[in-house]
């Protein structure tokens, strides 16, 4: 016999899928703004190895000369992006979902083991709850990053009225760089996220749409301490 296990409540699914186009629009409008002063680059020993971004990239996407439009979009969608993020965090706090998501003691060590496993270097996975510890790190970090984007964004949006915040972040120039680095972080997050979703397969992906995954019926609940076996069984799926 099977049963349905609810992995993602309706609210989380909506907030997740609403966030996707919103973040895309924020990154897009951010690019339109960044183009007007595209100064960031990666240097090694004083030699530039990558410039954010190559001219061909801008041209291919039709980015140049849209600063005013970019600012208009950015300062419109920012409210929805922030609101969506706040609702998500509030939801996880009020429902207790956060317990499955936050970093816990030992997360980094186990995340390393998960990484080795996912790279096919080892065969065993450490025990886990709903999410493994690499996921815990990723999902905690991305929320902190979102909060960081709001703060660094506010710091460069209102550097006079929120001068204390801008100073706290190292000044106007640094706050702008931090805002940019966080954005690059989202892109990297997205690439890994996408790869892992593909790797995890259809049932996992479907649970972000339909909410549930099909699992074997669990044996009758044993006394509390022995409940460990239920979780371990799940971790090896």
């Amino acid at each position: 016999m099977k049963q349905l296990e609810n992995k993602h409540p309706l609210a989380v699914r909506w907030l997740h899928w609403i966030n996707f186009p919103l973040l895309t629009l924020m990154i897009w409008s951010g690019l339109l703004i960044y183009w007007a002063n595209a100064v960031y680059r990666i240097e090694i020993f004083g030699r530039e190895i990558f410039h954010f971004f190559p001219q061909k990239f801008y041209e291919a996407l039709g980015i140049p000369f849209q600063l005013a439009h970019g600012m208009t979009l950015h300062f419109f969608f920012m409210w929805f992006f922030a609101l969506n993020g706040v609702l998500y965090v509030a939801y996880t706090v009020f429902t207790g979902e956060w317990r499955a998501l936050v970093l816990v003691p030992g997360s980094f060590k186990r995340a390393w083991l998960v990484t080795l496993h996912d790279l096919h270097l080892t065969k065993t996975l450490p025990p886990q709850g709903k999410y493994n510890d690499a996921q815990r790190i990723a999902y905690t970090t991305v929320i902190v990053m979102g909060f960081g984007s709001l703060l660094t964004g506010l710091a460069i949006y209102k550097p006079l009225q929120l001068a204390w915040l801008t100073s706290l972040l190292g000044g106007y120039e640094w706050a702008r760089a931090e805002h940019f680095i966080l954005t690059i972080g989202y892109v990297l997050f997205f690439l890994v996220h996408l790869a892992q979703v593909i790797r995890a397969g259809w049932s996992n992906f479907r649970s972000m749409i339909a909410g549930d995954e099909i699992v074997e019926v669990a044996p009758p609940a044993p006394p509390a301490p022995a409940a460990v076996s239920v979780i371990e069984g799940e971790s090896n799926r």
Partner: protein
Amino acid sequence: MSNHPDAKNPPRSGSPSDNTAQNLREKRRLSAPMTDEQARAVLARRSRRGFVVAASALIAGGFGLRGLLSPGGGGIFERSRAFNEQLGRKLFDLDSSAPEFSRDRAEEPRVNGTEGLSDGFDPDRWRLQVTGLAKAQDFPQFASDLSYEGVVENPLAEKFPATPAAGLLLSLDEIKALPRVEMTTELKCIEGWSTVVHWAGARFSDFAAKFPPQAGTDGGGKLPPYVSIVTPDRGYYVGLDMPSILHPQTLLCYEMNGAALTLPHGGPLRLVTTAKYGIKQIKRIGRIAYTETRPPDYWAEQGYDWYSGL
């Protein structure tokens, strides 16, 4: 941590006591048992519904966004700007100031724009025109005709009258007679770069105290809500809200990095303010007008935010 009971004997990775799900009391949400076929049917129905919703949202959002994303967009952006401006004005009640830097950090800023800086300008014959004042005729600098010799006007610039209504004609010395203020602040361009510059000039608030504007029409002796500033050739023009222009870091500036303001940087007199991006910090001020209506603004007409407040 050291007095934790397990501190001397930490759980090994992989041991049951290491189980984070257990430690954090994750809850599982399980349905009643069913057959595999039943379970698949339920999820197929639900994911189908999900995809239909997603597809509809994509189509609706696509059409909506196409309108929104096209430059100019819809009226929704106007409302969004108005909302953001209201918030910016509320933040102004915080009464904060931008940080000042040590003098040796000052650098020469880029000359980023030459709009309004037409050739043939003679700074020696320049005069500052001021209109919208209370009791202008009481000042010795009162002039019923504000035109003066040597002004080069752009004949195509029809947004502002060639000769403004009666007001004051001031010389640079009369601005320099106001208390001199120096500040080393970051000039922030709307493009995203910034430069630390040392400025000297008179606070606009001191200027407005000496040459007070006519009270607003809304009664109660309130100040008019806007200031319009235009170059002598009428080629560049900005509008500013009264709170920003009265901010203590808003200067009528005549010196940059210890030297008289050069023509490319806006000599003889320019606006400098930490409350706005560089686009509002107009060079070569020709006339200042206190006004009841929101003044035209060069870059706002190109799609930039009229308020552009920092």
